[in-house]
Symmetry: C2
Subunit: 461 residues, 2 copies
């Protein structure tokens, strides 16, 4: 009897529905949205529909010492959910029910496969929202957001995914079901296992349920500003002045010159002119305020931006605001249209952003690679995108990325702000953490996963 | 050579300054603000001034297998920092420097012994504040706030201590110095050790430094409301309606009838009448809004409260607001004046507060104990205070508290919202967590503390 026979028996009459051996499915599970595809095929994809299915899978894997790769929508950017040779891919994408929305307690209870955007659509009639907003929110799952502690555009004001998770249901490596956290805002009984599991990238357990905090939608209409600058340093200064004035924009996004050029080429200069009343410029800053102070905040920000050399347009209505947002949204499509893209994800203290932008320019020149960059300027999280020609990401890109990571860490930052380590960044992890922290984390993993079957090879080397 | 000789040698010329064997000091370290005093005396109190002192202490303790009890200001309410027989009390109260305030990055770097209020005083000129605001903030340390994941009045809007901690410097059981987290808002490299350490009550390591997030002070003047209600259910309903209207008060505090009676007796009925323009009532709700929407929010809340049967006073100015706040602030002094007090700390989902108040009344009647209660009504965290006569907290109080805890857990809540487990709640911990979580947490502790020398007997049985 092998692991598949054992699992088939455990799944009983659900086995045929749950287990897939289709070559296409096995093959698709080797990739994610990073562009990286793993070597070798998994044994099967387990399309779990229930917690029982997940528990049966983990018991089978424990029995036969078979690696399990937990997976949601497969929209990750670090190779964290990619199948490896001989593994069981445990997909929770079909566990996609919203089990409860409590308007009174401002929380939702969901299965892990619920798509972030679907949860938000369901919350909308209650005037509530789930704050984590990764760019992938239309297609990524809440479980995946939690497994990677996903960020997004709203984090500086509304927090990262960790801040939105009250409790988790997790199937452990041996198949036991663990419940962590509370339905309450506060709770300090024992260690914060919930936070430990958030961002653990499938290496500590399989998330099968989550109780998440939801927030009232901000009152009133948001106010949106867009501004062009002669260079990225001026745009960066303007963002710093907005922060220094103690304004708290919901969104503050910065595009550098190479990014703006590509967007301009992609959308057409006319679109930029229609949105901003101007073209040219070598950096773009998008700022959006919400809540009752939005209009006053936008007026002050507009002044600060103009003083810093920006040509600013304050959107008069939602339609104009949408045009300003569209420039930012065109970043990824514009890049994808211009070559093969490696999306990077460093974060630095906000005050070090100008140095980081300068370093990106230097690295681009040194390696001869275009690195258009967008930054969540409110929280110092930059996405330098390495654009090359050809189908594969070459060694020179990884060398350049290594330089980038070391620079971010040297500036007091990190090699990943919101995407996670997965496979693609594991070679630099120990360097950032240092040997003591790395060793401690490996030991913590072994408490949860003594057999080393949970997403082995991910995060840690 | 014993542990003291070894430590004296390691401390060198600092030894006399750092080590205390004064009977008064040893005795004082047996208590905290819970009223509970441990049996037996510690070997010494180590008054560390530097990270080196802390490292030397942990190395000595490892060498001789001597328990170490980390301690800040000793203002805890769960017996978590109380000395035990034969231990080294490792006080970091003298490590009280603010090392950096970065207005640009909206963070502060502090030693653990900095008093919360002192940090806030230092931030004030920058227009910034450290959001965690336990009632003890004038005397409790930032390190202690972190070790217990302290809460306070502002949490529903501004988060708990965990949300304010970006990174930690921690001395491990064997004396190594571990750095966790980042100076950035975002960062997802490896497990969230920072969050694991927050609230770990000295059982995983000794916090010797913290990088904390600070926030811009809200704009404009706060608006304060006070209201009397015929009963606690009506007050609870009013709080629920404020939440349901998607208002986000900075402060929303609820006092029940027994609490209000004692405060009235303590302050005098005249003071209540001066503040509220009315007396009588069997519950008090205090609501404060801040930020640009404060006035509009207060107007709406006032209407909702009146509709729910409350007699409401909206403070016209800061002085009137102060009088409304003073009623709430008199809770603890009024109780202390009326007997021996055990301060409890359950949390329930907000929607279950009326049931929790009803249960508190039932438990009070069943055990013949007065249980005046104040609740942070914005987040469902209740502090039932068991008031008895005599110097000691009797067994019937603990039996009643046990009932209280079980009720809170049964309602989807927890036996401690913000005070921690320490010694006083450890007997109920396994019941709330369940055997799997409890066992896992004990194993996690042993990764950090294989010799079991870090605050043994605290949190876990």
């Amino acid at each position: 009897m092998d692991v598949i026979d054992w699992l088939r028996a455990a799944l009983g009459e659900d086995a045929d529905d749950v287990l897939s051996f289709e070559p296409d499915h096995l093959d698709a599970a080797r990739g994610d949205h990073s562009g990286w595809v793993s070597d070798g095929l998994p044994l099967a994809v387990v399309n779990a529909r229930t917690v029982d299915h997940v528990q049966a899978t983990m018991r089978a894997a424990s029995e036969f010492r078979v690696p399990v790769v937990p997976r949601g929508a497969g929209t990750g950017l670090a190779g964290g959910a990619n199948a490896t040779a001989g593994s069981l891919v445990l997909s929770v994408a079909r566990m996609n029910r919203i089990l409860e929305i409590s308007a009174e307690d401002q929380l939702a209870v969901v299965e892990p496969g619920v798509v972030n955007g679907d949860l938000n659509a369901a919350l909308e009639p209650f005037g509530l929202f789930f704050a984590p907003d990764p760019a992938s929110k239309a297609i990524s799952t809440v479980g995946g957001n939690i497994a990677t502690n996903a960020g997004g555009l709203l984090c500086a004001k509304y927090g990262v995914t960790r801040d939105a998770v009250l409790g988790l249901d997790v199937v452990l490596a041996d198949g036991r079901l663990l419940r962590t956290g509370h339905r309450t805002v506060k709770g300090v009984t024992g260690y914060d296992l919930t936070s430990l599991l958030v961002g653990s990238e499938g290496t500590l357990g399989v998330i099968v349920g989550a109780t998440v905090r939801v927030l009232p939608q901000p009152q009133g209409e948001p106010m949106t500003l867009g501004a062009l600058f002669p260079d990225v340093r001026a745009a960066s200064d303007a963002a710093a002045r907005v922060t220094a004035a103690h304004l708290r924009p919901a969104v503050m996004e910065l595009l550098d010159g190479p990014a703006l050029d590509r967007i301009s080429a992609h959308l057409g200069e006319r679109t930029i002119r229609d949105a901003l009343g101007a073209t040219g410029g070598a950096a773009y800053l998008l700022v959006q305020f919400d809540g009752p102070g939005a209009a006053a905040d936008a007026a002050l920000a507009s002044t600060l931006i103009a003083e810093t050399g920006g040509t600013v347009r304050v959107a008069a209505d939602a339609e104009e605001g949408e045009r300003l947002l569209a420039i930012r949204r065109a970043f990824h499509p514009a890049l994808a249209a211009s070559g093969t893209v490696l999306i990077e994800d460093v974060a630095v203290p906000r005050s070090r952003m100008p140095e980081m932008f300068a370093a990106i320019e230097r690295i681009g020149e040194r390696y001869g690679i275009a690195i258009p960059t967008v930054a969540h300027a409110g929280d110092g999280n930059l996405h330098p995108n390495f654009v090359t020609q050809g189908d594969e990401i070459g060694q020179e890109v990884w060398d350049a990325a290594g330089d980038l990571f070391r620079t971010a860490v040297a500036l007091g930052g990190t090699l990943t702000g919101e995407h996670g380590v997965g496979v693609l960044k594991r070679r630099w992890l120990a360097e950032e953490l240092g040997p003591d922290s790395y060793e401690l984390q490996v030991k913590l993993k072994s408490v949860f996963d003594p057999l080393g079957i949970l997403n082995p090879g991910k995060v840690f080397g």
